[in-house]
Amino acid sequence: MCLGIPGQVVETVDAENYLAKVDVSGVRRTISVRLLADTGLKDGDWVLVHVGFAMARIDEEEAATTLAQLQKMGSEYDNELEQFSSTSL
């Protein structure tokens, strides 16, 4: 449940409401970036996504390592990704 999955910010959807679109392994959805509001987050940056929120900034290398680790988890990662893409804000 505490899984954080790495995503890359691809588009600011609604700056006023802190919504941005992130790409997680090719799956895109809108998440809240409210928790990183004062960190100057911009398109192309990598974040850890948890329950629809960007919870921490990470660099590209960390994103790749974490992703590789998650993919080894198999079904749980698939579930997380499925949930990630199954709903939209």
Partner: protein
């Protein structure tokens, strides 16, 4: 060899195991990993078998699904059964047994229970169903609580009044303290939680070395992170240091996430006490919705039964959560209690020690023993 696929850098892993073996000169070390994510990594990669025999990894209480007591599940089910309520929560919570079954069972009996990925999804359901009342069953440590906080702020901002939160957020420091105060267990040190610390930072753990004289290393989730953190703990002990160190500094900042902490302060307040499954009542260990947000507090809007229910007799989740017994030492482990038919919470979430051990624990023993021998060469 399996080991090679499992680790990003097998050479680094071998080198770490070698240093760990050299540093671990005492007869016995017991390190507790507080976080369920770590438990998962440890079992999945068979780390306990790679480490030398005198190092034991003890699993802690940091699985948010595991620590919710039965009475709270019963309250959740009661809420889900109220007329006009759409009850929403994270997937794992749906399967946690209450005294009369789980939320999934309630759903089968006709209650409108829905999985959501995010609390914001629950808010969206409320906006789409203005004639219904949507309750979000919020669980999680400080990792997850800020997302509930943002959702509360958003609900207020948008004036969504058919939405409320049944808050069961817990905080990480009090259970660590409770475990340190309990006479059951003699720990040598802690692997500190990774993602919780992205929010709270590393400062709140200072009491662990300062008051209890135990080292703590905040650790990442990769197998290599865990091995490195164990090495850092041993190094502190060998050098007669005792402090909080941060192995996961690539993600965790000492000050945490001030933005998230501020939102938590605005939207939630500490409960005087909260019951944890197996650990009993711990004071100031959980968050409730702040009185400024009372309109969005399910506990204010509904009069839930709030009955305290004892854990099933057969269930030893309490001992597992305190690290007093290993999952397989529970009498019902793998027989009456399996991930398909959980009796206790630790079998429900993939981060629960029982589920993690059931799923992977036994797989790795042979490979890991082989690797352990190779690393020792």
């Amino acid at each position: 060899m399996k080991f090679v696929d499992e680790f990003r850098d097998p050479a680094a892993a071998r080198a770490l195991v070698r240093t760990i073996t050299e540093l671990a000169t005492e007869d016995e070390y017991k390190f507790m990993e507080v976080c369920g994510g770590h438990t998962h990594t440890i079992y999945r990669h068979g780390l306990e078998h790679i480490l030398p025999d005198n190092i034991e990894l003890v699993h802690g209480p940091g699985c948010p699904v595991c620590v919710i007591p039965m009475g709270r599940i019963d309250d959740a089910i009661w809420l889900a059964q109220q007329e006009g309520v759409i009850f929403t929560t994270f997937g794992d919570m749906m399967r946690v047994p209450g005294s009369t079954g789980s939320l999934l069972d309630a759903k089968a009996r006709g209650a409108d229970c829905r999985f959501v990925y995010s609390p914001l999804d629950a808010l969206k359901i409320a906006m789409e169903n203005p004639t219904k009342h949507v309750v979000f069953f919020a669980v999680g440590f400080e990792t997850t609580a800020p997302s509930t906080a943002v959702t509360l702020v958003r609900a207020k901002q948008l004036g969504v009044t058919n939405f409320s939160v049944f808050a069961n957020h817990v905080t990480i420091v009090p259970p660590i303290k409770a475990i340190l105060d309990s006479p059951d267990l003699r720990l040598s040190g802690f692997l500190g939680p990774g993602h919780v610390s992205t929010v709270v930072g590393t400062r709140p753990y200072r009491f662990v070395p300062e008051v209890y004289g135990k080292p703590m290393v905040v650790a990442g989730f990769e197998p290599l992170d865990i091995l490195q953190s164990v090495q850092m703990l041993l190094k502190q002990m060998a050098e007669d240091r005792c402090e909080v160190e941060n192995q996961y500094s690539r993600v965790v900042r000492p000050e945490g996430n001030p933005q998230a902490l501020q939102l938590l302060n605005e939207t939630m307040e500490l409960r005087p006490h909260f019951e944890w499954r197996g650990l009993g009542f711990i004071s100031q260990s959980a968050l409730k919705v702040h009185r400024d947000f009372a309109e969005w507090d399910a506990e204010e809007r509904f009069s839930m039964p709030g009955i305290r229910v004892a854990d099933p007799k057969a269930c030893q989740c309490g001992e597992v959560l305190k690290g007093v017994i290993k999952p397989w030492e529970c009498k019902v482990f793998g027989t009456a209690c399996t991930p398909e038919t959980p009796i206790g919470t630790c079998m429900v979430s993939p981060e629960g020690a029982c589920a993690a051990y059931y799923n992977f624990g036994r797989l790795h023993r042979d490979t890991a023993i082989m690797v352990g021998e190779r690393a020792a060469l």
